[in-house]
């Protein structure tokens, strides 16, 4: 008989696997411990320390995301000491940059001055671009802290908005390092890393150049994992707020990997695409085409009416006329020249159902096996 090892979290006795961390055991059992820097599938770094918990007998609070569970360990995840530590961390983070959401608080004298400064740096009169969709803001609510305890630190680095697709705003970066892990351990593009030291710390690409001049391939994995407003999709920045969009899960239309995506829809338009986390085949990852190549959907060049060519020029037609013409001409040609004289090219870009219908149309209606698609080309 194996004697199972037991960890006690918030008074509950729980069994665990050998290499599980405190965080993993807790999450598996529905005990929520907040995290910021922790990124599933990567090596924990312990950078943010928001996940600290009290471990009986330990001198200091321990980060749950990188402390292995141990037999007879007794853990408290929301003790007064833990809560105090988390509040301090959040306050420091809020003071560390342009976190101008409502959390900033408005009791102090400097509210107006602070907002004006941030709005000038942002070139926007709005609150933070990810206001309402920010893990730091969520935590500040949860622990009831505002950003006023410490003076706002100066913003050392200007916004980088010269890239296609991605705006990097270091004034809102909390240096959690998730983007670096996403880039180097998930996508393995190795485009970004930590640069400089101490208060000058910054996430850099190619010796501190804009992303567009680095190895970055604009997969946007870093944007998807950034917990705050430091990395934001260029087209969605300020324009799209999460509560204004509906989200529809579907499959990417580009390559054969078949990544699962969420289309974020606002006013009948796709305004943003994200990967579906925790689901095969892509587990949240996407590439530049799948994440950012959606403008064609709303393009003005889309065909909206049937066209019939007359004297070498197209004119618009209604469906009845166009369909009758197609059906009539195909019937004629088949009657006159036989079924081998017609063919159908179906497509690797339409659905299975549509390919099946094309196959049925060719074989059952046109009575030809002249059907193929261009996808091997």
């Amino acid at each position: 008989m194996t004697t199972s090892k037991i960890i006690t979290i918030n008074g509950r006795e729980l069994t665990f696997e050998n290499d599980e961390t405190i965080l993993e055991v807790a999450r598996r059992n529905g005990i929520e411990i907040p995290t910021l820097c922790h990124l599933k599938g990567t090596q924990p770094t312990g950078a943010c320390r928001i996940c600290v918990v009290e471990v009986e007998g330990a001198r200091n609070l321990m980060p749950a995301c990188c402390t292995p569970a141990a037999d007879k360990m007794v853990v408290r995840t929301e003790s007064p000491q833990v809560v105090a530590a988390r509040r301090l961390i959040i306050q420091l983070m809020l003071a560390s940059g342009n976190h101008n959401c409502a959390i900033r608080g408005s009791d102090n004298q400097d509210w107006t001055a602070f907002q004006l400064k941030v709005q000038e740096e942002d070139g926007s009169s709005d609150l933070c671009p990810v206001w309402g969709d920010c893990r730091l803001q969520d935590l500040a609510y949860r622990y009831q802290v505002s950003g006023e305890r410490f003076d706002a630190t100066v913003n050392r680095y200007p916004i980088e908005d010269v890239n296609p697709f991605i705006v990097r705003d270091f004034s809102r970066c909390i240096l959690c390092g998730r983007c670096v892990q996403a880039c180097c351990e998930v996508q393995v593009n190795n485009a970004i890393s930590f640069g400089y030291r101490g208060p000058f710390s910054k996430i850099i690409a190619a010796g501190d150049r804009p992303l567009k001049d680095s190895d970055c391939v604009f997969c946007g994995e870093c944007v998807q994992v950034c917990p705050v407003g430091a990395l934001v999709e260029k087209e969605a920045r300020y324009r799209v707020r999460p509560w204004e969009t509906g989200k529809v899960r579907t499959t990417c239309t580009y390559c054969g990997v078949g990544c699962q995506i969420l289309l974020h829809v606002k006013d009948g338009k796709v305004v943003k695409v994200t990967g579906v986390p925790d689901s095969p085949p892509n587990h949240g990852s996407l590439c530049v085409k799948g994440r950012f190549g959606f403008d064609f959907i709303n393009s003005e060049k889309r065909l909206t009416k049937p066209l019939i060519k007359e004297n070498g020029k197209f004119r618009e037609a209604d469906w009845d006329e166009a369909l009758d013409l197609v059906a009539g001409r195909f019937r004629e040609i088949v009657e006159k020249n036989g079924s081998e004289s017609v063919g159908v090219l179906t497509s690797a870009r339409v659905t299975n159902e549509e390919n099946y219908i094309a196959n049925k149309f060719a074989r059952a209606v046109l009575k030809t096996n002249n059907i193929d698609h261009c996808a091997r080309l």
Partner: protein, 528 residues
């Protein structure tokens, strides 16, 4: 793919050939890179270009264009001679080994070096690495298939996997990466001249009878039809009169475009159904506006045979309609009523007539797609193929001799051209070229050339260069790149304005009908 995408991370050795994975299947390439960096897998890349993945590779073999059968035979030669084959697997699961052994006998690494340019020692190292692996996975793409010997190339890779028992287990397999998102589905659904859905042959009378009964018709022909690459010349000869093209743009993607263009113009009647007025649609007699993936319900089957849902998120623009609805209306007007309430009803019919999809339904794939074959409602799907046996029972070795590509360089056309895709554009660009950021990263065609060749032709980065083949000529910008190797240039085919396919050779693989996009002979000169 015989195995799944996730399975790549289970492999001890990964052999990638003819696939520029990081650009064409970026998310899948992350599985390869993670396996190498964090799971200790060894990577062998066999590719004529110094693609990004070579930076992750333990071994990069650089074959001359069109010499794949030779290096694969060479690897098998070493594996057999050094006793690295899986004798048990060969005995129990395969047949035809003797014939294979005889053919590969002469492909010793020194002989192969003469054909492929791969140093004998490097080939030996690759053979040993692959041959000794507990689980080895092969990933390949169009760099293998788009040759006159494409079918031979694919069979040779299957030989290599069978010889070493690298099939039917996690981390193994022969895994083709599908270029477009629903190539797998287009093939699965009978979008091919020789099979109905689920690869049921049109030559099998029982199958034809079954389909006729299901569809309530008679007289379905039992002879395979024409592949697209044969339809085009038939149009040229005036024997193909009418073509119904749905969502394809052959006037950028076809080989030897000048010829393809003439052929299509020669049709009596052309219907193009698309979301844009593509190069091909402009030649049509009737253009029918269809909807894009975000505007319809349905399913796609990805490269690992996973059938996944497509869901409608938007109303289609103007009067555009789903492709299936348009075709159903045409069929109905031709006197055969086709009516379905929705895409799910079509899917249910697919399941009824297609054994490999029989157990699938929208309800079952609501949350997560399933891998076909899935023959019954209780069947969990098949992530890994051939675990117990092959479709035909025993796996058949094909003894294959190397034959050279159909076009060779000569004094007049001294350089090789190979074509392909790039990260920021997709196929003929009708979709990706609508996104500013993608065009910013990849605005136009380019001619990728090695520094030595550039110097030889006095070309500098950014110069315009004229590239001519026996079939046509284009002008594009020079990109001197470390990816290129001497003697071979690369041009992406996405761009209609400098369409690489004006140059390519329409010589076909006799079995698959796939043209030799990956090799042709060209000459280059600085454009004024």
């Amino acid at each position: 793919m015989t195995n799944t995408i996730a399975d790549i991370e289970e492999a001890d050795v990964i052999l990638v050939t003819g696939s520029n994975t990081t650009e064409n299947h970026p998310v899948l390439s992350a599985f390869v890179k993670r396996a190498v960096k964090f799971k200790g897998a060894k990577l062998i890349v066999v590719d004529p270009r110094r693609i990004k993945l070579t930076q992750f590779a333990d071994l990069w073999l650089r074959p001359n264009l069109g010499t794949d059968v030779a290096w694969i035979n060479g690897m098998m030669n070493v594996i057999i001679n050094e006793g690295l084959l899986d004798e048990d697997f060969v005995d129990r699961r395969t047949e035809g080994f003797e014939a294979l052994r005889k053919v590969v006998e002469k492909y010793d690494p020194e002989f192969v070096e003469g054909i492929t340019g791969i140093p004998a020692e490097a080939l030996r190292a690759a053979a040993r690495l692959y041959g000794k692996a507990g689980a080895a996975s092969i990933l390949y793409c169009m760099g293998i298939t788009q040759h006159t010997t494409g079918t031979d190339n694919v069979k040779s890779l299957a030989n290599l996997a069978m010889l070493t028992g690298n099939l039917g287990r996690p981390g193994t397999g022969v895994n083709p990466l599908r270029g477009q998102n629903n190539v797998q589905g287009a093939c699965d659904m009978g979008g091919l001249p020789n099979v109905f859905s689920g690869y049921q042959p049109v030559t099998d009378l029982a199958v034809v009878k079954k389909m006729e009964d299901a569809w309530g018709v008679s007289g379905i022909p039992t002879k395979p039809g024409l592949t697209v690459t044969k339809m085009i010349p038939m149009a040229h000869e005036g024997r193909l009169k009418a073509l119904y093209i749905m969502g394809e743009n052959p006037l950028v993607s076809d080989p030897d475009l000048n010829h393809a263009e003439k052929s299509i113009k020669n049709l009596d009647f052309l219907v193009v159904q698309d979301i844009f007025l593509t190069e091909t649609a402009q030649l049509a007699d009737v253009v029918l506006p269809s909807t894009c993936f975000a505007e319809k319900d349905g399913t796609f089957s990805n490269t690992e045979r996973r059938v996944q849902r497509v869901r409608k998120a938007l109303e289609p623009p103007g009067e555009s309609m789903e492709d299936w609805k348009i075709i159903c209306s045409v069929a109905t007007r031709m006197g055969y009523e086709m009516k379905y309430p929705d895409s799910e009803a079509i899917f249910n019919e697919i399941a009824r007539v297609t054994p490999s999809y029989a157990g699938l339904s929208y309800a079952r794939i609501e949350k997560e797609g399933l891998h076909w074959p899935c023959p019954s409602a209780e069947h969990p799907g098949t992530p890994i193929l051939h675990t117990q046996q092959f479709a035909r029972g025993r796996g058949l070795f094909h003894a294959i001799e190397w034959i050279p590509p159909s076009e060779q360089t000569d004094d007049e056309y001294p350089m090789y051209l190979t074509t392909g895709r790039i990260l920021y554009q997709y196929h003929t660009g009708t979709m990706t070229m609508k996104t500013g950021g993608l065009n910013f990263k990849a605005p136009e065609a380019f001619v990728e050339i090695s520094a030595a060749d550039a110097a030889r032709y006095r070309l500098a980065d950014g110069d315009m260069v004229r590239v001519s083949s026996r079939r046509g000529e284009i002008v594009a910008r020079v990109k001197v790149s470390s990816k290129a190797v001497d003697g071979t240039i690369f041009i992406p085919f996405h761009f209609a304005r400098a369409a690489a396919n004006r140059l390519t050779n329409a010589a076909l693989d006799p079995v698959s009908g796939i043209p030799e996009y990956k090799v042709c002979a060209v000459r280059i000169s600085k454009a004024a």
